[in-house]
Symmetry: C2
Subunit: 213 residues, 2 copies
Amino acid sequence: MAKYAKIPEATVRRLSSYLKCLEELESKDEKVASSSILATICNVNPAQVRKDFAYFGEFGIRGMGYNIKELKEHIKKILGIDREWRIAVVGIGNLGSALLVYKDFLKQNYRIVAAFDIDPVKVIGNISERVGRPVEILHVNRLKEVVEARNIEIGIITVPPTEAQKVANQLVEANIKGILNLSPAPVSAPEHVKVRNLFFTSALDNLVYYLTN
Amino acid sequence: MAKYAKIPEATVRRLSSYLKCLEELESKDEKVASSSILATICNVNPAQVRKDFAYFGEFGIRGMGYNIKELKEHIKKILGIDREWRIAVVGIGNLGSALLVYKDFLKQNYRIVAAFDIDPVKVIGNISERVGRPVEILHVNRLKEVVEARNIEIGIITVPPTEAQKVANQLVEANIKGILNLSPAPVSAPEHVKVRNLFFTSALDNLVYYLTN
């Protein structure tokens, strides 16, 4: 897919945002979206929407807007989420528990197939009820074995910050492909493993910047 | 602060990320950071680091790097987080509960001063223990009154997606300045209220894009 290699990171981020907006429109039985509607919902300007989509060729009809279903499929293909991704969550405290029942994971192609903790006897009956199946929490020392056995490609880190890098190292050792770190401490990994650190403070920093300036 | 008005959104985002990395270095007793160290930790290239900082004038010393303490203060000032921001969290399920004890909020100038739910009798004894004070959950119908009485400027939404826009409307009505929405359903608000929708799926989309391409 080398032809997509030069998409700016900001565009990649917006594509994901457009996808959410398209799903929102679809849930309201809309079939077609104009760039101005997408722009309004996604908080960008219409020219930006058209520019972003132009990276991938023409798929809007002038004066008509975009077919929502087609555009969704196109974006999913570009992002690589037109297939299932198998995920392990490490650290089943409040945040990890929230992810196990996060509606959009269940709905989309992100499938959490393993949950790990250093305390495998954690009681999460409430979650089991909500996802409609028993949620089994495994001891983190089984990480490598289970990642391999269940073809897990992505690890989400939701342990306390003091443990985050250690867990990242364990995930690397388990031959994970990508890491999403939600702990407040940044983690790093060798270059062949992709890492995204997502900090709630950064989302607030961004908000505050625009409130201040 | 009009002179900062033209900072690209991607730079604002990276500034926040640099700040996290500087704190990480500081916690290891480092005093000075080179652009290449910052680049490595933050997953960007050194030229990008220097370019980002150049928006705000010169504050590195050539060949010496940046004084971590000074750079931190500078970034905080630019972002507007050199003062306290008072926050309400609406929706005290697993995710809301996680935020109440999120280490970096407690450590930084983000102060959660109110927690709301439609079920105000929720038992969160464990959280009370961890934050070292009783966490009082108020009924969401007291939102407007409490936002005003406690000078709350930011609302974080952690309710189920079906309730998210409703809560956003209530926050707008309570004269909130900014909204960070962590529910999977995008919310919108009138232009005078800034909104950031943070989706966990978007973080995964971004990771998957770079795993695929």
